[in-house]
């Protein structure tokens, strides 16, 4: 039960956003280097019939 009741005691963590942002930027750069954005693009320009509930 302590897990459920602990939620209200959480506090804002100021300053944590910057390292998280840095992690994001590094991940994105690695993704660009590995051409993963091209994979995203390749999927995104085709109509996925399953995704829209037809196929």
């Amino acid at each position: 039960m302590s897990f459920w009741s602990r939620t209200p005691d959480k506090k804002q963590k100021r300053g944590y956003w910057l390292p998280l942002l840095m992690i994001g930027i590094v991940c994105l750069l690695v993704g660009i280097y590995q051409e993963q954005l091209t994979d995203i693009y390749r999927k995104a320009v085709m109509i996925c019939l399953e995704c829209i509930g037809i196929g």
Partner: protein
Amino acid sequence: MKHRFGLQRIRLLFQILYTIVTNGYVYGYLQGKIYKGPLKYACVPGLNCYSCPGATFSCPLGALQAALNERQIQIPFGVLGFLFIFGSIFGRFVCGWLCPFGLFQDLLHRIPLFHKRKRLPGHKVLKYGKYLVLVGLVLVGSSVLFTGFAKIPAFCKYLYPSGTLMGAIPLLGVNEQLQSQIGGLFYWKLGILMGLVILSIKIYRPFCQYLCPLGAVYGWFNRFSLVQIHWEQDACISCDACKEACPVNLRPEQISVSAECIKCGKCISVCPTRCLHYGRKPKVEKKHGQVKDMIATKCKMEQNPNRIDKNENQ
């Protein structure tokens, strides 16, 4: 009590502008085709069905599922990068201020039908549904479920209703070839969409509160993110106006910290002492005492004598 409704008008404007920018490819709706330009290299912060004719950008969850659908699964650094960047800056501010499906549910909730409720019965358990969807359908489902020899984007296929609303229905209207392919899946997703539409009129954003896996991701970032709603405890008169205005019923100490807070700012709009605000600088730093006395007296005289008396006794 003077309400600051201007903030909510600005929020509505943000939601509409974001929806137009990310889903405003009018040519796609007219021709039954989708946008294939370079903007689709990038993911936007909110859910954004990229198989929909209006979509101009990619969706982070769609891209994540596509990465997990590959035969040899790699760590999807690109998608993780987008999620960390948006999450660390905005948290669930994305849900409250940007997401088009959130806007859709907001508008439905304004329809003057039914007695409005903030939550479903069993909310304390049901709110974990979005984590179940994230793990079960997005992460595990997209990695292990197959149709024939191909893996499937399980969340988009079986649950996400926006694809039906903004993809299937407009495409079926102009593309006769697709009409012949309608099957059980379409009626399943149409049923989910209709169910959510009716539920959204009564309950505030049921999809966001109970099912959205992107909300689950951004919920984790919520208390770390740059964009925060700050609560000046010293200036608070415990009038509970913020809790009453909060669409997900959070107390002031939970606002912006809880994974459920979408940072919509409704609490800010109604706070009589302005002790809730975006940003970090306390706006009532020097006159806390004066403001508290003034508001407490006013409340006592006008509307809520019991609560003020209770506070005074404390």
